[in-house]
């Protein structure tokens, strides 16, 4: 008894029989298949030839006679980057006035000045805007400060997070000027919207979403300052944050998150901004959303 296969050589005749049996096998792929294969290969070859020609042109551009110019340009660019970049990257010490402001206790609640009867109660997104506007006013009033308006805004955002529970917005209307707003600010009040001589802006959820989708930060901030619902949805259930995410507008996403947009608001299909960002491979936005606890 033997369950082992026979030695290798003993079955060689199977190969011979296979070859003999199919010796005259006329089976071939069809002409259509052959033509499709060869045409496809010829198309790819033509594409490769075009690519090679482009590469050759590029190499010709990099010919020795152009190399000094290219290297010189690159060197100048690198040198400029080395000289200029530190000016933007170096940490800026807070100004005296800023340090003094931060050292003060949180401002007491202030009454709403000239608030319209129909003014909505304090909205969540208004608080960062209030602090942000205060920072802008402070920056314009104190030109000697080394901080830029943007830096002040960032600090204000951080400050708003600390002081928000104690702050109430002041809605400035009528002929109140920016200087008056500054005075109000110095008393501990806050300015709700940068509207020096007009009624309070009407919240336009469409405009908010459009600004977010387009990455128009000026319009976005203006809409946020008007105190509307930052998480208002369109017909498909998409919030401004979702549209900014889908549009890859990282700056708009940052502004919206800083103003309290819901990072996990789902649209009508149950998609969250985080999922949309992952699908679009928007890594900066993914990181921001995760920092804000998005699911």
């Amino acid at each position: 008894m033997s369950t082992l296969p026979p030695p290798f050589d003993r079955s060689e005749d199977a190969d011979e029989r296979y070859r003999r049996a199919f010796e005259h096998d006329p089976s071939r792929p069809s002409e259509a298949t052959r033509r499709a294969v060869l045409d496809h290969a010829a198309r790819l070859a033509a594409e490769r030839t075009r690519r090679a020609a482009r590469r050759r042109r590029l190499m010709a551009l990099l010919a020795p006679r152009w190399r000094p110019a290219i290297v010189g340009t690159l060197a100048v660019a690198v040198l400029a980057g080395v000289v200029i970049a530190p000016q933007f990257l170096a940490p800026t010490a807070p100004s005296e006035s800023q340090r003094a402001r931060e050292a003060l206790p949180a401002p007491a609640p202030a009454p709403v000045v000239n608030a319209p009867a129909t003014a909505p109660p304090t909205a969540r997104p208004a608080r960062p805007s209030v602090a942000r506007e205060r920072a802008r006013v402070a920056a314009s009033a104190n030109h000697s400060d080394a901080l830029t308006t943007r830096q002040l805004e960032q600090q204000a955002d951080a400050g708003a997070a600390r002081a928000a529970p104690l702050e109430e917005p002041v809605v400035v209307t009528g002929a109140r000027s920016l200087a008056q707003a500054t005075a109000a600010t110095s008393r501990g009040a806050a300015v709700a919207a940068p509207v020096p001589a007009s009624p309070p802006a009407q919240v336009d959820p469409d405009a908010l979403r459009q600004a977010a989708a387009a990455g128009d930060l000026t319009a976005l901030r203006a809409q946020l300052a008007s105190g509307g619902d930052i998480d208002a949805r369109d017909a498909q259930g998409r919030t401004a944050l979702m549209l900014a995410t889908v549009g890859g507008q990282a700056d708009a996403v940052a502004v919206l998150l800083a103003h309290g947009a819901d990072p996990s608001a789902t649209d009508a299909h149950g998609t969250t901004p985080l999922r949309a960002a992952v699908a679009a491979d928007e890594r900066a936005i993914i990181a921001m959303l995760r920092r804000y606890g998005a699911r």
């Binding site: 290798f8 199977a14 190969d15 060869l38």
Partner: protein, 190 residues
């Protein structure tokens, strides 16, 4: 330039640089071997036609990635086998002549349709072809695959092992069983 004296590896390298004629030479050189491997494995002409296109499209597309560390034939049959396995999985095709019905008969008719053969020779060839087809169809798929890779691809046991992703000893065993089974099935037609 005559492509006949050039190696497969040279031809694929030339094609990768945009020489369409090199691909045509390669295709003509290996067309029948790939065709027989595919058709005799899947047992269906229509499926083999589709696979044939897919395999050679892949060769054309990936020509730039081919590295002559492996023989071109090994690379080619690796592509062919992978495409075939994918197709069989996707279509749940049956690797058996049983599933072919009348098409199997058509294959056999064509196989034996040699106008120059005498009636006796034709009958004998027909018997042999039918027996061989049936014997191949009765082999376990992995044994048939190994056998066809070696016979049609003219590949070594090492190459077959590399292509099928199993050990040298496993391939040897599969080939041994396949040949024994074929010999037994064909013994009546000696």
């Amino acid at each position: 330039m005559n492509d006949a004296g050039l190696s497969d590896e040279t031809l694929i390298a030339r094609y990768a640089r945009g020489d369409a004629g090199s691909f045509t030479a390669l295709y003509r050189r290996h067309e029948l071997r790939i065709w027989r491997y595919l058709e005799r494995n899947v047992g269906s002409r229509a499926t083999a036609e589709e696979l044939m296109q897919e395999v050679w499209f892949a060769v054309a597309r990936d020509a730039e990635r081919y590295r002559p560390s492996a023989r071109f034939t090994t690379w080619l049959f690796t592509i062919a086998r992978n495409r075939m396995v994918d197709a069989v999985r996707a279509r749940r095709a049956h690797l058996s002549l049983d599933a072919l019905g009348h098409e199997a008969e058509t294959v056999v008719e064509r196989l034996t349709a040699d106008p120059g053969a005498s009636p006796l020779a034709a009958a004998e060839a027909r018997d042999q072809a039918v027996a061989l087809r049936q014997a191949l169809a009765r082999l376990p798929p992995e044994q048939r695959d190994a056998f066809l890779l070696q016979l049609e691809g003219d590949l070594s046991v090492e190459d077959v092992a590399a292509i099928t992703g199993v050990s040298f000893e496993t391939v040897k065993s599969r080939l041994r069983y396949a040949r024994t089974r074929l010999r037994d099935l064909l013994s009546a037609y000696a």
